[in-house]
């Protein structure tokens, strides 16, 4: 009885729009609950959420490339020029 009154289920197309809010912790309590209830019954959206997490993880794995020796020299020069201006 209560279930039919309380539940207006999210559909997948709505759920994917809540993923960032979910990960950011900015959903309202009600949205958060509805989102998790949807995930519990939806393997596709569960996979989608996992892929969004993976997307973030992959971005976080990018590390700056090493400076080339030439760049390094240029910045040492920049620094030394600045130092000499100070004196």
């Amino acid at each position: 009885m209560r279930i039919t009154l309380l539940r207006r289920d999210l559909v997948c197309q709505q759920a994917v729009e809540l993923v960032t809010g979910y990960l950011e912790g900015t959903l309202s309590r009600r949205e958060h609950r509805r989102f998790e209830a949807h995930l519990a019954g939806c393997p596709n959206c569960t996979e989608y959420l996992a892929q969004m997490r993976e997307t973030i993880r992959l971005a976080g794995r990018l590390k700056p490339e090493d400076l080339t020796p030439q760049q390094r020299d240029e910045f040492v020069d920049l620094y030394r020029r600045w130092r000499s201006e100070q004196e």
Partner: protein, 198 residues
Amino acid sequence: MTDSDGDLLTRLRSGDERAFVGLVQRYHEPMLRLATSFVPSLAVAEEVVQDTWLALLRGLDAFEGRSSLKTWLFRILVNQARTTGTREHRTVPVADPEPAVDPARFDGSGGWADPPEHWIEAAEDRLEAGKFADRIRELMHELPARQREVVILRDVEEMTSEEVCSVLAISDGNQRVLLHRGRSRLRQLFEDEFRGVR
């Protein structure tokens, strides 16, 4: 490279040239990538980043540490880039609908008709093989500039949303919309990559 930014800053203030090079190694390329989204060419972006490094040196005494060094540095960069850049009115069209997933992939009742294809393991394998970073950069470059800026700062540079808002001078609401769109698009690009569409 385990020195914290704070350590490098302290050493730089006491005149250690290697600390400067250490910071450049850490932030030069990330700043260059961010700068390219504001200015018309790589050459201009390089100038902007160079100016940012000079501004850092000149501002060393004035830096009070109320924000992190990184946030401060990126904020200088964005200000320099905006002054130089041709992109003027950066109003963010937040109201424009841009769905996270192509509506054609859902059926009439909003359920998946063409569900997400699995690619996480394939991505991890390619990452393990050490061949993926350049491709990730290329894919990220396909994001619209404003989305890319937010994704770079949040997910590559791992800044907080507050820091990103401060660096880009955008509201928290805009930051979140851009992050959502950028990440959603990037997810799609990864899916396409491993689906062999591309």
